[in-house]
């Protein structure tokens, strides 16, 4: 009986403690982080860190560990702040991320933060809440939404990665039509589904007389590859590259670079007549179940450490220019990036839509 009383007393004490804890955090900080659009507006970084630690968790989605060095970033964040990261559907697409935000609503499993393709980001800004990281001014104006609904994080250039032990050196797009590339050339996904693959076909178009408004020559080029038996209709992944199924891959240079871990003879080529760039963006779910942790995650990603992690993964972080002039850029990692000789071009959302519509009608016929 004493035990029961003790037990109840313990529960009561715990309850009081919890209530007090909640009360103190809301009275001391008096901050509802879900509406704060910067760390300083919510009481500064220390308050943000404390609130995020109290939340204890962060939900991320569609972030593979081998994508742009995200594994190191995830581990670094958890080590620094002791916040557990729940990573859902790592191989999902940007559309999958938005679907998850819609379907999971205000539940505790909903994604807190999104790393998302520009096309999907611009179509879904109503799902985001504005937030400006501390280094907001370092992000070029064209690469962010002015209120902070989305802000580009890292990017790179479309490239041709190849295993130099299995195929001859690639020096132009036309090389791929040669007999040495039979059954070897792959895309990172279906271009009617995956953004990286769509950009791969667009790069082929640029190198073959097309333009950002005309992806047709790219589709024709892949039709040629198919006719010659050079195209492998397999989605290139770390596994297919490692097993040798896809020795030549059209992909973003920063994703391609990670194949060097498994295949030391992996080389990356960016055609000078088709330098197609692309950036991803960050956004915070307006219904984020862990609003403070979400904001702290963004601060971490845009810190010098976070940006250098991406750079080590071969991606070009959005603060690269600012960090270079400030001397905080990881120079060795920057030097390891593939050489870019052409003038970079970027697909606008409208151009991407037009390319997608053209692919929907023509892609299946071109490669069957």
């Amino acid at each position: 009986m004493n035990w029961h009383r003790l037990h109840r007393l313990g529960l009561a004490v715990a309850a009081v403690f919890i209530v007090a804890a909640c009360g103190s955090s809301s009275s001391a900080g008096s901050t509802d982080w879900s509406t704060q659009s910067s760390a300083s507006a919510g009481g500064g970084m220390d308050a943000l860190v404390a609130a995020a630690k109290a939340e204890g968790q962060l939900n991320i989605i569609a972030v593979p560990r081998d994508w742009a060095n995200y594994g190191a970033i995830i581990d670094g964040f958890t080590a620094k702040y002791g916040i557990k990261i729940n990573s859902a559907n790592p191989n999902g697409s940007s559309q999958d991320e938005v679907d998850a935000v819609n379907q999971l609503g205000k539940t505790s499993r909903a994604p807190d933060v999104l790393d998302i393709g520009m096309k999907v980001a611009l179509a879904n800004t109503a799902l985001f809440t504005p937030y400006q990281v501390g280094v907001w001014k370092d992000i070029p104006a064209a690469q962010k939404e002015s209120s902070g609904l989305w802000y580009q994080d890292y990017g790179g250039y479309m490239s041709i990665g190849y295993d130099s032990s299995k195929v001859p050196a690639v020096t132009s797009m036309q090389d791929l039509l040669g007999s040495a590339f039979k059954g070897k050339v792959a895309l990172n996904g279906d271009p009617t589904k995956a953004n990286a693959a769509l950009n791969g076909v667009m790069m082929a178009s640029l190198a073959n007389g097309g333009s950002l408004d005309n992806i047709g020559p790219g589709v024709d080029f892949f039709h040629q590859l198919k006719v010659k038996g050079n195209f492998v209709p397999v989605q290139a992944t770390t596994a297919t590259v490692k097993s040798g199924q896809t020795p030549v891959v059209f992909d973003w240079d920063y994703l391609s670079q990670s194949h060097g871990t498994d295949v030391p003879t992996w080389k990356i080529f960016v055609p000078s007549n088709a330098t197609l760039g692309g950036y991803y963006a960050q956004a915070i779910n307006k219904n984020a179940p862990h609003p403070a942790a979400a904001r702290l995650w963004e601060e971490y990603l845009y810190s010098d450490a976070g940006q250098n992690f991406w750079l080590k993964g071969g991606a070009r972080p959005v603060r690269m220019a600012a960090m270079q002039s400030a001397g905080t850029l990881d120079a060795a990692a920057a030097a390891a990036l593939p050489a870019i000789t052409g003038t970079p071009v970027f697909l606008s959302p409208d151009q991407a839509t037009a390319a997608g519509t053209y692919l929907a009608a023509h892609w299946a016929a071109a490669i069957s």
């Binding site: 697409s93 997608g356 299946a364 016929a365």
Partner: protein
């Protein structure tokens, strides 16, 4: 004594305690099944059918259904039907022959026991596992392919057809043939040796027997099983998705892309319209199947 006592207790337990009206409770056992079918078959079907008539702006009209006449959608339907017809026909013929071999052999023999239990397992072997088995064996870097290549034999003189529709037929046959054995064997077992003897004593030869006796008896069962194989292949998704990564050449993959596309082609309404088309085709096939099944059942008593 105790056994009888227990039996009486069981019977008593089934009776209403106070002699009131007896409630028919026999349907209770079916509740989990009905709930399951309702939640996972009927409800999704209703959602899909209703959704096919709602456009992107939420108004009710036929605009999503009109997307079905785009050339690439029509082509996907044709490829799906062709793939299913081919894999069903090849599977049905090969499976029927195998079943015939078993049916005419020793009913307790090792061959029959081995084949039927293997068929029971393999008919359920599909999806990513099956696709992986084929990719690892005869894929671009599959061990058998590489082995043959080392000995001067290239099994893919043109494109690697494993990752295309012909590859899908080969892979589907891996579960279609065993399924045919399972569903066709009972029909073959229903054929009595006496009927053949009767044909022979009436002066008929083997041709007469197959043309006028066994053929007509087995035809409904054969056609019915073929339709089942058609539906089985028509609705398969996971195997195809694991094997084919480009072009979405068949309807299930096209539907998947309309839900997952991140390049602006995501259109759940159109996905539902495509699914409605599949439901109509499968409904026609399954109704024909049940009609044929009824005719078959008459002879298998």
């Amino acid at each position: 004594m105790t056994a009888a006592g227990n039996a009486a207790a069981v019977i008593d337990a089934g009776r209403p305690l106070q002699g009131g009206r007896r409630l028919p409770l026999t349907w209770l056992g079916a509740v989990p099944f009905l709930a399951y079918v309702g939640l996972f078959l009927l409800l999704p079907t209703v959602i899909v059918v209703a959704g096919a008539f709602v456009d992107k702006n939420g108004s009710v009209n036929l605009s999503e259904l009109q997307t079905l006449n785009q050339p690439y959608v029509v082509k996907a339907y044709m490829s799906s039907v062709l793939l299913s017809v081919e894999s069903a026909l090849i599977g049905a013929v090969a499976g029927a022959l195998l079943a015939y071999v078993i049916a005419t052999g020793n009913p307790q023999g090792l061959l029959r026991r081995t084949v039927t239990s293997a068929a029971g397992v393999l008919a359920q072997f599909g999806g990513v596992t099956l696709a992986f088995a084929f990719i690892a064996t005869i894929g671009g870097a599959g061990f058998l392919r590489v082995f043959l290549l080392d000995h001067g034999i290239d099994i893919y003189p043109g494109n690697i057809w494993l990752y295309d529709l012909p590859g899908l037929i080969v892979v589907y046959l891996y579960f279609q043939i065993p399924l045919m054995v399972l569903v066709f064997l009972p029909a073959l077992d229903g054929i009595r040796p006496q009927w053949r003897e009767a044909t022979e004593s009436l002066g008929g030869n083997a041709w007469h027997y197959w043309r006028y006796v066994a053929g007509p008896l087995l035809a409904p069962a054969f056609l019915g099983a073929t339709l089942l194989l058609f539906a089985n292949s028509f609705s398969a998704y996971a195997t195809a998705a694991a094997l084919i990564n480009q072009g979405n050449p068949i309807v299930p993959l096209a539907i998947g892309n309309l839900i997952q596309s991140e390049v602006g082609l995501s259109d759940p309404g159109q996905a539902k319209a495509l699914a409605l088309g599949m439901i109509v085709i499968v409904a026609v096939v399954m109704i024909s199947y049940s009609v044929l099944q009824r005719r078959t059942a008459r002879w298998l008593q």
